[in-house]
Amino acid sequence: MTDIVTAIVWLAGSAFALLAAVGVLRMPDVFTRMQASTKASTLGLACLLIGAALQMGDLASFIRVASIGAFVLLTTPVSGLVIARASYFAGVPLWEGTIVDERRDVPADTQNAEPGEEGGTRSRANAPS
């Protein structure tokens, strides 16, 4: 029974990981690639971790597996946000089919009211590269 559940979960997890990689290869844009990579790979790794915890079957390794899962669940959205933010302010071009870019549509006077260091790089982000 444990082996059957492990088999199902491992095959599902590797399929999700492969889907994440295919999404990274096929998507047209840095931001859509980041979307595919973070979401699908988190789900795939969670499935693989469940299977490994079922196979090991003792408390110590379950604690390790759970801590790996909690760490990945906490850090993958953060790294995706950091990559997306850095590439947007570095002026990486968006896909030409992009419909909404809310950062660009902010009026000019509210841009200056925002805190922080992105005031200098905004002009570079909108400049043609």
């Binding site: 492990t6 491992w10 095959l11 590797s14 990981a17 790996i68 760490f71 950091v82």
Partner: protein
């Protein structure tokens, strides 16, 4: 039966690593390569976790944890570099 399943899982993860590597080679900008490297780290963690589950060696899970931590720190460092410098 579980041997075959774990071999198939490892093979699928290897194909996923290969596909992510194609994006690292092709990627037109530096953030594309950073996204692919991030995915690479998560896939390697999954590979090690499957190896640990199929061989039942508990110390392998510690290696997976360390690789997850180092991968996250590397991604954040690369993103900081992109935000300060120029892409390409």
């Amino acid at each position: 039966m579980l041997d075959v399943i774990s071999q198939a899982t490892l093979a699928t993860l290897g194909v996923a690593l290969l596909v992510a590597f194609i994006r690292i080679v092709k990627g037109p900008t530096l953030p594309d390569r950073i996204v692919a490297m991030d995915l690479f780290g998560v896939l390697v963690v999954g590979l090690i976790v499957v190896l640990a589950g199929s061989s039942r060696v508990r110390a392998t899970l510690d290696a997976a944890m360390v690789i997850a931590l180092v991968g996250f720190l590397g991604t954040v460092a690369y993103a900081t570099y992109v935000e300060r410098g120029d892409p390409q």
